[in-house]
C-alpha cells in the first residue's frame, strides 16, 4: 500500500476530492496546513507572506492504483502557476480497520 500526501491549493481540494470519488477512491483525509515552497512564500507588493495556506490530502491506496491517483490529482489541481503544490508518496506496511480489526484497506 502507498500513502499519498498531496499538498494542494485550498480551493482545489474539493475538486480533487470529487474527482477521486468519481474514480472510486472515496476514502481520504483533509488537513488544513500552512507552508512554503521553492519560491519562499509570496511577495505581494511590498508585503512578504512567508507561509501560505494549503490543504493536505492524505489517501492510502493499493500499489496498483498509485499512478492513477497521482495522475488524477495532478490534473485536477493544475493551474500552471507557482503554488499548485507537491505530492509525496510513502509506503505503508499495514492498515487496520478499527471497527473490525481486519487488516487491509
Amino acid at each position: 500500500m502507498k500513502m499519498i500526501r498531496a499538498i494542494v491549493r485550498p480551493e482545489a481540494a474539493d475538486v480533487v476530492a470529487e474527482g477521486l470519488a468519481e474514480a472510486g477512491f472515496f476514502s481520504m483525509t483533509k488537513i488544513p496546513v500552512f507552508g512554503r515552497g521553492k519560491q519562499k512564500g509570496i511577495m505581494v507588493g511590498s508585503v512578504h507572506y512567508d507561509e501560505l495556506a494549503k490543504t493536505l490530502l492524505m489517501i492510502v491506496v493499493e500499489d496498483r492504483d498509485q499512478e492513477a491517483v497521482l495522475k488524477l490529482i495532478t490534473s485536477k489541481a493544475y493551474t500552471g502557476n507557482f503554488g499548485d503544490g507537491k505530492i509525496f508518496v510513502t509506503s505503508v506496511e499495514k492498515a487496520l480497520t478499527v471497527r473490525t480489526g481486519a487488516s487491509g484497506l
Partner: protein
Amino acid sequence: MKEITAIIRPKKVGATKTALEQLGFPGLTAVAVLGRGRQRGIASEVNLDLSPELLSQGKSGGMKYIPKRMLTLVVPDDDVDCVMTAIVNINQTAQVGDGKIFVSDVEDAMRVRTGERGEKAII
C-alpha cells in the same frame, strides 16, 4: 522504528491517550482532520432527521467530511502490535466510522534537544 497513524473519533482521544500512556508511550501528535471513508462521509454518527420529501430530492442527511482526530506516534518495531491492539480495543464501537490505522517505516529519528539518533531519540 515504525510510524503509527491512527484516525479515530475525536471523542475517543482521551481514552486512547490514557491507554497509550499506560503502555509507556506518552508522546504523540494529535491533529484535527476532516475525512471520509468507504461510506463516503454519510455516516450514521451524523444522523440527521430529514423529511422523506427532502430525501427524495436527493438531499442526504449526511456530511461530505467527518471531523476526526489523527494521532501519529513513532514506536520501536517490537511494540507496533501491542500499540495497534490497544488502539483497536479502545476505539471499537462496532459502528462504521471507528477509523483506520496505518503503519509505515521510519528510517531515522533525531531528538532536537540532545541530537540523539535512532531509537534512543524516541524512547
